[in-house]
């Protein structure tokens, strides 16, 4: 299998998993656990819940609680889709758009994405180093200020 075919196949499988797991597996998993737990609790405490007049718990089938659990856990996902559409860095967004729109071959596109990620990682490393140095300078200045 060539590298292009391998990439296409595994990418498609990965995307299918993302759809099935609703992009955020942790939230989806916890949503399912929550929904299932509600189902069991409702079933166990059914006699007690019958006393509540304003709500008919028995009207909801066992699978009805799963979407409620999923929705509860995915509230942050819903909020994030409204709040932040992009990574938050215009330059990176532009670079991604340029790679997508550019007339690159598959191999070239992969290479461009690799370059972009490497550059972002290098920039983050430099920023971290700069911040560390800044902190050490601040500390040394503070120490000098304290000593008469």
């Amino acid at each position: 299998m060539s590298i292009d075919q391998n990439d296409r196949l595994t990418s498609a499988i990965s995307r299918a998993f993302d759809i099935l797991l609703m992009k955020y597996p942790t939230r989806t998993g916890l949503g399912l656990v929550l929904g299932s737990c509600i189902t069991v609790v409702v079933q166990l405490f059914e006699p007690g819940l019958r006393a509540i007049n304003f709500m008919n718990f028995k009207a909801v089938p066992w699978y009805g609680w799963l979407p409620i659990g999923l929705f509860t856990m995915h509230i942050p996902t819903v909020i994030s889709t409204f709040r932040q559409k992009s990574i938050g860095n215009d330059l990176i967004d532009q670079a991604i758009e340029l790679i997508e729109r550019g007339n690159f071959s598959k191999a070239e596109k992969r290479q461009q994405y690799r370059l972009l990620i490497e550059k972002v990682a290098n920039a983050a490393a430099l920023k971290q180093e700069f911040q560390r140095e800044l902190k050490s300078i601040e500390k040394s200045l503070a120490a000098e200020g304290k000593t008469p």
Binding site: L30, Y113, A121
Partner: protein, 211 residues
């Protein structure tokens, strides 16, 4: 044609009676007992010589093999060290750590379901259990696919994955260690795996085929 046998007398066959030839050999040549002793001795000497040579060759081969294996191991360990220090590996470790709790929660829920089903005689839908088990399987399979893509150097080479990885790097830039044990900058992605067809050709026909 003259069939007469001329003889000066020295080589005359004087053997007579039953087993005459055998007796003649016993008289004029080396006794059979000695022959039996001598032949194995010669064989043993040759065999010992061969054994010594074989042992030397084997020792040389094993030492060469060991040095080759050691070199391969050291190269492999260096590669592993380099590979394990990439940021994409950190990303999959981060993902795995995140989903570990979910897996644990799912397993606990499944166990509780079974306990409720058998202990409290409640009819818990087995379809619900099936959904939970399927989800657990999907979670594990997704991790394997992602790990495969990362190990092959394919991860991060499309829009979605690149965004995910960049997002991870930016969000965790304060906590991530961007340098490895030697103080060098970690690389973000693992190198792309070679074409499998090319690998096959090189493994079967050697380096010459590639050249």
């Amino acid at each position: 044609m003259n069939n007469e046998f001329e003889s000066s007398g020295g080589e005359q066959n004087i053997a007579q009676g039953d087993h005459a030839i055998g007796g003649q050999i016993r008289i004029y040549s080396i006794p059979t007992g000695e022959l039996v002793e001598i032949i194995p001795m010669e064989n043993e000497v040759e065999h010992e010589k061969n054994n010594d040579e074989n042992q030397i060759i084997r020792k040389q081969e094993s030492s060469l093999q060991e040095s080759g294996e050691e070199r391969q191991e050291s190269e492999q360990s260096l590669m592993d060290e380099k590979n394990s220090s990439s940021l994409s590996i950190k990303y999959i470790q981060h993902l795995t750590a995140g989903s570990r709790n979910v897996k644990f929660a799912l397993v606990i829920t499944i166990v509780i379901f079974f306990a409720v089903d058998f202990g409290f005689q409640q009819n818990i839908s087995y379809f619900l259990l099936f959904i939970l088990l399927c989800f657990l399987g999907l979670l594990i399979a997704r991790e394997h696919v992602l790990e495969y893509r990362i190990r092959k150097g394919l991860f991060g080479t499309n829009r979605t994955e690149a965004r995910e990885l960049i997002d991870f790097i930016i969000k965790n830039s304060d906590n991530l260690d961007f340098t490895d044990s030697n103080g060098n900058l970690r690389r973000a992605l693992l190198p792309e795996a070679k074409d499998t067809a090319e690998e096959y050709v090189s493994s079967t026909l050697g380096e010459e085929a590639r050249a």
